[in-house]
Amino acid sequence: MQLAVNITVLAAIYALIACGYVLVYRVSRVLNLAHGELMMLGAYLLLMTATQFSSHWLAALTAAVLLSLSTGVLVYVFLMRKMTGEMVLAAVLTTVALGILLRGAMVLIWSAQQFYPAQPLQIANVAIALPGGARISLCAALLVLTTALVYGALLTFLRFGRWGVRMRAAGQNPLLAAQRGINLHAIYALAWGLSTLTGALAGMLIALDAGLNQTMAIIGLKAFPAALVGGLDSLAGALAGALIVAAAEILLINYVDPLLSEVVPFLVLIAMLIVRPWGLFGTREELDRV
């Protein structure tokens, strides 16, 4: 039972991060390898706002979320906008470079020590007993709940929302979308903003649960296989991929070797690339487009 809970929590983490990869990739065909760092930045932003509004945890969270949304938009406006229409590799490498830059900057600003943003916010991370003898911490439960909410909201938004439909259109055929009067730059900026927001949410909740230091970006990179296994352009796929990767990771760690934790997602990734490179729910033509 505890295993099932662990898998659910890890899957929720991966899914929440992976939907950021999917959002940006689906709309602009750019793989954002700086997502892990952007997520970590979100967590540090929460740390910053937590010391500002120490008594109101809701105010701190809202401020941090808004800050990270604008960070994503700024990244697009000042950096990725210049890379539209460039080679795919150049755009991906720009995000890699951005990740390196962010990581260095974050060490400079916040140093490499361990922080607990839950302390200034006075959130007690109590363990909740579940039926079947399993336990889950409050923040982890919150994380699972947030993931469900975020996915529900995103799927509805993409299906019914005016801007959501525009986003799908821009992803399917940028040229036609632009000719129908859709502002592509605004759409791309929105995708980057939303992607950073969801990533940052994941970062904040992980930080509340387990503390925050400079190694958090690795979790972001490990969530990437989840996005690819499900199909890089499918939100529902990211959910399924996260579940598969998390299950494989927890089970292998538990029964084979704890050292495997770092590689399991990538092993799953390799297996998927061999069998079905476009992912479980991805579109097959994707492969020829890149």
């Binding site: 590799l89 890699v96 990740g99 830059l101 400079l108 092993l267 390799i270 690339l273 890149v290």
Partner: protein, 359 residues
Amino acid sequence: MSRQPRASGYFRTGYAQDLKLVQTRAERASLALLGAVLLAFPFLASPFLLDLANQVFLASIGALALMLLTGYAGQISLGHAGLMAAGAFTVGILFRETQAPFWITLPAAAAVGAVLGVVFGLPSLRLRGLYLAVSTLALHFLVVYLGGEYEAKRGFSTGILIDPPVLAGMAITSGHAWYGILGTAAVATLLLCLNLLRSGTGRAWAAVRANETVAAALGIGVAGHKLLAFVISSALTALAGALFAYHRGFVSVEAFSLFLSIQYVAMIIIGGMGSLLGAILGAVFVTLFPYGIEVALRALPGAQRYAGTLFAVNYAAFGFVMILFLVLEPLGLVGIWRRVQTYFLLWPFKHRPLAGRRR
């Protein structure tokens, strides 16, 4: 390979002339000058500078290998550090388990690299672009994990110590000896790449990179040439990793992080894609960059305060410079160099005459 235009009317009149690597007197003179500088360098430089030169040589071998694969054959790889790790760990494991001398371990490292090249290359038969990069990234983590596993299981958790190689009864430890060995290796790699690229193989790679369908229609075995590119590049990279292990005298997985892969990709981007000169310039730039930052920070007032944050400053500055190159100068250092060259060749004019009006 495209030759640069010359100021004078230098025309080749025979195929033998066309095949020469060094063509004009000016080229010969400048090459001789470069050779003389390289030969004189170890006798004039301080040990620190000598060590820097050795690092540059090592990085050039790796960068040249990656340039063959990415810049010429068009196959993206983010697993370069994994291949280097494979070479280094082959040396480490063979030395620890069997005390093998370097003339066994180096070919063994190259062989392991070649085999891994097939493994890294197999996805390229099916995947392109981004997906290929991702698969090499995944394989990088796999190789590094296997290395870490070996370290942990055999009790070398801090790393494997390797004795210096013994050549003609003498252990090679001095910077001067290493300068000779690594310099020779780098020049040999450069010559190998130069000649490979103007052979049929190199032309086939260029065709595969430009358009796979057209290449196949021309009768080029696309799959075979892709795999060959991976095999040759990986063997060279593993060799560089093996030399790195001997030079450091120490192998540990920490040295082969994802950041190293990114550094190598940065070398060929900053140097200039599709140019061997670019690979070398990029290797020089990326290797010397952290030391440049350190010197620059020392020059600032209150140097002691920055000492602890040097690593972070380095990281941030490296990312920043990489972004600058990607956004502002996609042709890299070679692009700048060519522009300077053209400026002087055409001086006092600003532009090349239009092609049609030449005669």
